[in-house]
Structures are given as structure tokens and as C-alpha cells.
Amino acid sequence: MSSIKTKDLTKKFKDLLAVDSVNLEVQEGECFGLLGPNGAGKTSLIRMITAVSLPTKGDIWVLGNNLKTHSRQVKAIMGVVPQVDNLDEDLTVLQNLMTFARYFNIPKDEAYRRSMELLNLLELENKRNSHIRELSGGMKRRLLLVRGLINLPKILILDEPTIGLDPQAKYLVWHKLKELKSQGVTQLLCTQNMEEATALCDRVAIMHQGKILSLDSPQELISRYVGNEVWEIEVDPDERSMIVKELENRRLDFEDIVNKIHIFHIESYESLTGLKNFASKLRQRSATLEDVFFRLTGRSLLE
């Protein structure tokens, strides 16, 4: 059974089609990544899946339950880590968790046990009596994750879970997410961090202007759109047109960015023989999801 399934899911604001007939299926136990530039519709999509906003059109099923009729049951088994910090500023760290657990009808002593355990795991136990305003940005994000886990969710919805975290905290969160995956928790991860998507996700959907452009495993997306390696040429303005012409003659798949040229899908190095004579600053690197992202969504700012 699929964990999350959407059919023709559409969200329309006044004069903006934020989500445009999206069909997607997240399998049970997988970590599904949602990538896209700002304004791509990721957050609108997630708000509908978490039942806090109603679709303009279309349907959502979570573990077979239609969200239109079973939103409470679905929300009870979901954990949500929002992008915006909405911790309860009137309460301390521990009170935040206890109060949140009460929304799920978790008995008090069980809530306390889970809170302490999760605070320990994310190294926040010393902060349990602190006020939210006394926490650093990174601590708040970790606390949001702890809060999202308080109901032991079967499905975890994460909107930029590691944004603003230092590398240490980021790896701590990744580690926890991998551990949850091994326990069978389905994850829908919305991120701008390509490294994160590559490290965590089984499959990735690239979203742009309300639509899903492409969907596959990170490795598959990379080899489909970019190839396994990228050749990069640093270009001086006066030699640019000559290099471009040479690449065209060689029928290479390349992208011309202001002071750089990327060459993709190199099948044999023969096609590069002698290229050094034209472009002295030629070097090779491995392809990343970021290359895929740029190829699919373009390089201009979209907002």
C-alpha cells in the first residue's frame, strides 16, 4: 500500500496556481524528497497533505484514508516539522512537548517519558526548562523535530528540517532521520539542500511552478539529466565564442553559464581529445543533484 497518494491535487490562490494537478505516490517506509526553487509549490503541497489547508481540487489518501473524511485520524499518525518556527513561546521546552502531546491525547507519564528520551537523542536535555526565546536557531529546529516525533508518527513530514543548522547538528538530524527510516517511518522531505536529498532520499521529485517535472532516485536522475561526471571549463570572455563553437562542432551536451561552461553526458573521453588546446581551464568533477536541479528549473531567479 502506498503511504501517501495524491490525485490531480491542485491549489489555487487568487491569481496563482501554486500546485497544478499533482499525482504522486509515496511508498511505505521510503524517504521521498521534494525539491524545487522558492515558490515551486512545495509548502502549499505539504500544507494540503498535512490537512491544514484544503485542496482546490483533487484528493489525498494517507494509508488508504481519504483526507477529506479522515483528517483527524491521519493527523494523529503524522509528525510535522514545519519550516516556520511555531514553537509555543509562552511555554518552556518541556512544557511545549507535554502540551503538544496532550493534543494527541498521550497520557501524561508517557508524554514525559517520550519527551525526555527525545530531548536526550537530540541533545537538548539540558534545555528542558529553558524558554523558547533562550534557544538558538539550531536548538529550535532540533526541538521542532523532537516535537514532530512526540506522537511516534508512522509518517514524518519535514519542511527544510536542517535549514540554519551547523554541520554537527545537521549530521545529528540526518542520523536520526536515517534511524527512523530503518524503523519503517515514511518520510516526505522538502528541502533545498541537494546534499541532504542525495544523502537521505530513496526517490526525489523535482517540482517547478506547481508541477512535478521529474521523479526518480537521485542516482537515476543524475545519470539521466547530467551523466555521471561533469566537465567544467572556466571561460575568459574573449575566448568564449570560440569554445562554444568548438563544443557545438563536437556535438557535446553543454550549458553556457556566464563565466563557466558545463559539459554533460560524456560517453567517451575521445570526444574531449584536444579540447585542452581551446580551453586551458578544463577540469572534471562528479555530477550532483544540483546539476539536475539547474538543468530542470533553470538558472534565473524565480521570485
Binding site: 491544514v52 489547508s53 509555543d88 509562552d90 496532550r102 494527541f104 491525547n105
Partner: protein, 254 residues
């Protein structure tokens, strides 16, 4: 329209916990201020006021002070208080991602606002009794009236909160709605000396029936028109409660 469920109690509990952690910062406003008004107006101004039936002026205004401060409690709670929770702290956004929905949040906020009215009404009633201003055992019903009144004013306030763009808009709410009611609902003077039009306006102001009801319970003097007053309170409460369920969903679940 969707209805709320028993889960609203979770929102009420959340607000209760926060209130009893911070109550010392709220207490002066809602306990000290009514005492000051009661003494200043009742004893100070009261020395110059002669009432027709030989009643002391402080006795005349005491029931109205109970009703007014109960109104203020629910009104502040569900305007500034609710707006800060909704817009600045995003508390509601977090709550509606749990099994609670927007309607539970709305009902929880309104019933909490009413609880504030209940507490304020009860405290001032006890103070008034200590000053020997309460003359009838029927006064034990006043906390219940304050609670009902609280639901009404909390619902009106939350309806307004759900449609305003910014926190500054509440200046209008208090200057043009709450404060005029405080003066023109028969708290400090009977309205019989005013032109017909003012009297008519006063009778549709939601505070007026509450003042009359509270005064009757304090004095133990009942008239048939009080049933109309009670009916008016219940009608307005039902109307604004339903409307706020609708407008809050429109505001939050976009």
C-alpha cells in the same frame, strides 16, 4: 459549516496553563482596576449623587462594574491575546497539524475567553460582597451570567480578530465598540434621561442586557423583561459563535 469537538478542551488547557504561569502580570488590571473604579466613582463621585429610591450610588454601579470587567476580560483575551497567538507566535498553525482542527481552536479560544470573564466576574462579586453591596442570595448565579456573557464577547472579539489585517485594528474595536458600551449600557447612569435614539442603541448593545440581569441578581428584584434580556444574550452568543467558526476557518485553513 464544520463543528468543533470535545478536543477544544486541549486548547483551553493550554491557555489555562499559560495564564496560571503568568497570572501575576494580568491580575492588577482585572482585580485592582475594578476596585479603584468602584471606590473612585462609588464613594468619590457617589457623595454628589442622589438616587431617587435612596439607594447608594456605589450600590447602583457595582453590578455594572462586574458585567463590564467581565466583558473587558473576554474582549482583551480574544483580540490582542488571540491575535498574538495566531499571527506572531503561530500557535494555531502548530495546533491544527495535530488531531485538532480549526473549529476546535476557535471553540477553545472562546471558552477560554469566557473563563476569563467568569474569573473576573467572580472576583469582583466577592469584593462587592465584602463591601456589603450584594443584597440577594440570587447573586450566586452571577458567575454563570459572567460566563455566558464571556462566551458572547469572546465570540464577537474573535470574529473581529479573524478578519483584521493588523494588531492596530483593535484600537477601533475598543474605541468605537467596547468603550462606548461601558458608558452607555446603564452601568453608571440609567438611560431613561437620554433621547429615544440613544436608548434604542443602548438596548441593542450586548452589554446592556447583561448589566440589567446582573443588577437584578444583586438586588433580588426581577421583571419580565429580564427574560427578553437573557434571550437576547443567548441569540447574540449563538450568532457570533457560529460566525467566528466560519471566519476563523477562512483565515487559518488557506
Amino acid at each position: 459549516m464544520r463543528l468543533f469537538s470535545w478536543r477544544f478542551i486541549r486548547v483551553w488547557q493550554r491557555n489555562r496553563d499559560v495564564f496560571f504561569r503568568l497570572w501575576h502580570s494580568e491580575a492588577p488590571g482585572f482585580i485592582a482596576e475594578p476596585i479603584i473604579i468602584l471606590l473612585a466613582m462609588g464613594v468619590g463621585l457617589g457623595a454628589y449623587v442622589g438616587l431617587v429610591d435612596g439607594q447608594e450610588y456605589i450600590e447602583f454601579i457595582a453590578p455594572g462594574i462586574i458585567a463590564s470587567y467581565a466583558m473587558f476580560s473576554a474582549s482583551f483575551e480574544c483580540t490582542y491575546g488571540s491575535f498574538v497567538r495566531m499571527e506572531y507566535q503561530k500557535t494555531y498553525d502548530a495546533i491544527i497539524a495535530t488531531p485538532l482542527n480549526v473549529e476546535d481552536v476557535t471553540a477553545g479560544e472562546i471558552i477560554w475567553g469566557a473563563t476569563r470573564s467568569f474569573m473576573t466576574g467572580t472576583v469582583i462579586l466577592v469584593i462587592a460582597a465584602a463591601f456589603q453591596l450584594v443584597h440577594s442570595p440570587w447573586a450566586v448565579l452571577i458567575p454563570a451570567v459572567s460566563f455566558l456573557e464571556g462566551i458572547m464577547f469572546a465570540a464577537i472579539a474573535l470574529l473581529f480578530t479573524s478578519i483584521v489585517p493588523a494588531i492596530y485594528s483593535f484600537n477601533y474595536y475598543f474605541t468605537l465598540f467596547i468603550t462606548p458600551m461601558f458608558f452607555f449600557s446603564g452601568v453608571f447612569f440609567p438611560l431613561s434621561s437620554f433621547p429615544q435614539i440613544v436608548q434604542a442603541l443602548s438596548w441593542v448593545a450586548p452589554l446592556t442586557p447583561v448589566v440589567h440581569l446582573t443588577r437584578a441578581l444583586v438586588n433580588g428584584e426581577f421583571h419580565a423583561y429580564l427574560l427578553g434580556a437573557l434571550a437576547l444574550i443567548i441569540t447574540l452568543t449563538t450568532l457570533f459563535f457560529s460566525l467566528s467558526l466560519f471566519t476563523m476557518r477562512r483565515r487559518l485553513a488557506i
